[in-house]
């Protein structure tokens, strides 16, 4: 083979490779854009930050994945042994330069992602101080509101097996449906009366375990009106899956009106799917494997509705 034909083969190879890499870059960019569509609606200030990071990682990840799979596909198509060829291939033991390159590039890449992430986390600032508390505070057990300890804008979230209770100490309101005013920062005070629970609102992209014996401050700013779901995200026992609640984000005026109206309503049992399912279960002749009985439904001003449609 002459040197000129070798050169032309090399040129073809480099051109082909460039086109292929360019194609992969395009597909990766497209996947990064698609990534937004796999996530729920953005309903808090945290959501765009999380989604942009995820979209960026999807693009990078697609590029790496397609790159590796391209090599695998190439060798499976073009580096197959002939049917009766038992001989070995040309032995290449390694290449130090390549090793250095493919150690350095991932290192720089992941550290870059890490720094972006730390900046995003700082911006998010969801997690406030954690305070160790004594569970089953007698005042709370008596149904009183620890309003003297809480700033007025703070919403107390009480997780139980298996219901959620939300208390608005400033307005003397309690509910099993979480109501928030749009575009107003809110600080939750997360407490659990029994086991671990997870405070998770997918549309807000936030999640925090609720830990018995601790009161955790947690900051969120809703940005979009609508009805979303709050899901228990840390396994909490038999009716874990049923431990969900609605989150209603409304305008500031509507929120004020709701609080005023709710304060006038008498206390009544809140929503607890677990309580009704437990009753059905116990009425059977063989109730099955043992379970912790659900806590009685909390006494609240607003139980909310279980039939309300929510945004996916």
């Amino acid at each position: 083979m002459t040197s000129s034909s070798t050169r032309s083969i090399n040129t073809t190879a480099i051109a082909g490779l460039s086109v292929w890499v360019g194609l992969i870059v395009l597909v990766s960019y497209w996947m990064g854009q698609q990534a937004h569509r796999w996530l729920p609606v953005q309903a808090s200030t945290a959501a765009p930050l999380v989604d942009d990071l995820f979209s960026f990682e999807t693009a990078i990840g697609t590029f790496v994945f397609l790159g590796v799979v391209s090599v695998m596909a190439w060798v499976m198509l073009f580096n197959r042994a002939e049917k009766y060829d038992d001989t070995d291939a040309v032995p290449i033991e390694g290449n130090t330069l390549l090793e250095v390159i493919w150690t350095a590039i991932p290192f720089v890449l992941v550290m870059g992602i890490a720094f972006w992430t730390i900046r995003a986390s700082d911006q998010l600032g969801t997690l406030g101080p954690m305070e160790h508390i004594h569970p089953r505070n007698p005042v709370e057990d008596a149904g009183g509101y620890p309003g003297d300890r809480l700033p007025a804008e703070q919403v107390e979230v009480i997780a139980r097996q298996w219901s959620w209770e939300f208390r608005y100490p400033g307005s003397n309101v309690s509910s099993t449906e979480l109501h928030l005013a749009v575009d107003q920062p809110v600080t939750f005070r997360l407490v659990s009366e029994d086991v671990l629970h997870g405070f998770y609102i997918p549309a807000f992209r936030v999640k925090q375990d609720v830990i018995p014996g601790r009161a955790i401050d947690f900051n969120v700013t809703p940005t979009r009106e609508g009805v979303y779901r709050l899901r228990d995200s840390q396994f909490s026992g038999t009716w874990f899956a049923a431990n969900q609640s609605d989150v209603v984000v409304e305008s500031a005026q509507d929120h004020e009106a709701w609080l005023e109206q709710a304060a006038r309503l008498p206390l009544q049992p809140g929503l607890s799917l677990a309580v009704s399912e437990y009753a059905t279960r116990q009425s059977r002749s063989n109730p099955g494997w043992a379970t912790v009985p659900p806590a009685p439904p909390p006494q609240v001003n607003v139980p909310g509705s279980s039939a309300q449609p929510h945004q996916a």
Partner: protein, 558 residues
């Protein structure tokens, strides 16, 4: 030395009965481990079918919620403690002594005791299905306070039996780890320096070192959990001043490295098989070998990434994110080294090679979702959702179990002495690869949409992807049939295997198939070069031609 005395003639009938008793031959123990593991694999798989059956509809309608929680808990526990660890210890038992030219493990009786603990704690775990109140239901993490609630209040309860079984499993694994580490460090053939050792042994050494460092933390944590459950202590009980988050640290300090205990030997399998079926040396042997120990070091300081949404401060989240990200570097070195090995090779797409390629494909996917999970804000959104379930099933089933299947098909001729069938093997691969991706890929969109893991019912918007996942799961359930058929029929009446049917390089391929009880006996060959000398023409050991001629003569006369 004459033909008649070397290699030592295997005893004519060693009998199948030794597989059912207390035998100290590592090769028998290896097969005992693997067969026991696959027995439990079938039970764990059956439980998975029930889980996917329940999740094919949004309502909780197939089984009672308490039953569902027990079933998903036992599925995870069985698959990890009774399938994947035992099956890997089976491979360790078969491969480590034969690959390094040792006659047996360093402590053969300890080895047998470690194995026999497996059926004992397996029985204990199975028995918990039948005690009043049912088995443990708090997930394979068994986080307190849920795990110490004990609704019936009996002294003997599913959760207590679960903790005891896990502690026994830890004892068994520690016994195994001491044995594997000692064997690798002390019993290598003459001339086999550490840097002439096959990569499988490197990865086994790395993985078993992790067991020795991590398991005591889990065992201690489990004993305290058992005391909280049984005697009312309050190590983790908040009302007595205990901290439930403390348990999470004990648990993940071991259980994150446990993932590397699983995946490292599978990396070892990939590193062994890619050279054989590409007819090329392993690309960058030294880096691949050393990367295992970098993974060990980093793997020990990442556990808090399992607890990002739990009770940890923001600066700890950031720190453990950085360490987690760094693991991508040594792992990347390995992946690129395998690609370098394949590049320009002469590939033979046999069943074991297909399982390796499929496993690598799935592993790269899992690695990318792993990086996503490491970044704190994304993890906060998807942790404890189906995204995580999808990620780790890609690691454990997509990569590790596929690697284990590759290893079984590759070394079956060596240790059973018969060839498995290629057609059934390829069918098995196809069903596994399609089934696994159909089952586990839909879990990622579900998690991104916000479906929590461990739920027995879900909101209707999650239905579509759950139906797809369930169909994939059922396909995966079917995929095990050609495998079992293949193994059984090949074991009973498969064609006899020669000593080296794949034309592979390694000490184990210089033994007859199956090898005699003491492997090389007194005549351990002297190793004179690095492993994977494909295409170099260099022999691995002194007098290699002579050894191979004798094996061929023996095979011709049989």
């Amino acid at each position: 030395m004459t033909i008649a005395t070397f290699p030592p003639e295997p005893k004519p009938d060693q009998g199948r009965s030794r597989y059912f008793g207390f035998c100290t031959d590592a090769k028998v123990i290896g097969i005992q481990y693997i067969v026991t593991a696959f027995f439990f694999f079938l039970i764990g798989g059956l439980l998975a079918m029930v889980i996917r059956g329940e999740l094919i509809t949004p309502q909780s309608d197939l089984v009672d919620r308490a039953v569902y929680n027990g079933i998903y808990t036992m599925h995870g526990t069985i698959m990890l403690f009774l399938f994947i660890f035992p099956v890997l210890n089976g491979l360790n038992n078969l491969l480590i002594p034969t690959m390094i030219g040792a006659p047996d493990m360093a402590f053969p009786r300890l080895n047998a005791v470690a194995f026999w603990l497996v059926p004992i704690f397996g029985f204990l775990l199975m028995a918990s299905f039948f005690v009043p109140g049912g088995p443990a239901y708090s997930g394979w993490w068994s986080y307190p306070p849920v795990s110490i609630q004990n609704p019936l209040g009996h002294l003997i309860n599913g959760q207590g039996m679960w903790i005891t079984a896990v502690a026994l499993s830890g004892v068994s694994s520690i016994m195994g780890a001491i044995n594997f580490v000692t064997t690798i460090l002390r019993m290598r053939a003459p001339g086999m320096t550490l840097f002439r050792m096959p990569v499988f042994c490197w990865t086994a050494l790395a993985a078993q070192s992790l067991q020795l460092i991590g398991l005591p933390a889990l065992t201690g944590g489990a004993i305290m959990l058992l005391m909280d459950l049984t005697f009312g202590t309050s190590f983790y009980r908040p009302e007595g001043g205990g901290d439930p988050v403390l348990y999470q640290h004990f648990f993940w300090f071991y259980s994150h490295p446990a993932v590397y205990v699983i995946i490292l030997p599978v990396f070892g399998v990939f590193s062994e098989l890619f050279p054989v079926y590409s007819r090329k040396p392993l690309f960058g042997y030294l880096y691949v070998a050393l990367a295992s120990f970098i993974i060990v070091g980093l793997g020990l300081i990442v556990w808090v990434h399992h607890m990002f949404p739990s009770g940890v401060a923001q600066w700890m989240r950031n720190l453990f994110m950085v360490t987690t990200m760094l693991i991508a570097v040594p792992t990347g070195v390995k992946v690129f080294a395998w690609l370098g090995t394949l590049w320009g090779g002469k590939l033979r797409l046999t069943t074991p090679m297909l399982f390796c390629l499929g496993g690598l494909f799935n592993f790269v996917f899992a690695g990318i979702t792993g990086i996503m999970l490491a970044t704190v804000p994304v993890d906060i959104h998807v942790s404890n959702t189906y995204f995580v379930v999808g990620h780790f099933h890609y690691v454990i089933y997509g990569a590790a179990v596929m690697g284990i299947f590759a290893a079984i098909y590759h070394w079956f001729p060596k240790f059973i002495g018969r060839m498995p069938y290629e057609g059934l093997g390829k069918l098995h691969f196809l069903l596994t690869f399609i089934g696994a991706n159909l089952n586990f890929l839909p879990m990622h969109p579900l998690g991104l949409m916000g479906m929590p893991r461990r739920v027995s019912s879900y909101d209707p918007e999650f239905t579509f992807w759950n139906v797809v996942a369930s169909l994939g799961a059922f396909l995966l359930g079917v995929s095990i049939i050609p495998f079992l058929l293949n193994m059984l029929s090949a074991w009973i009446r498969g064609p006899k295997a020669t000593h080296n049917p794949w034309n592979a390089i390694g000490l184990e391929w210089l033994l007859p198939s199956p090898p005699p009880e003491d492997n090389f006996g007194e005549d351990v060959p002297t190793v004179i070069s690095r492993p994977y000398g494909y295409g170099s023409g260099q022999p691995l050991v002194e007098h290699q031609d002579e050894i191979e001629r004798r094996l061929e003569l023996m095979e011709a006369s049989a």
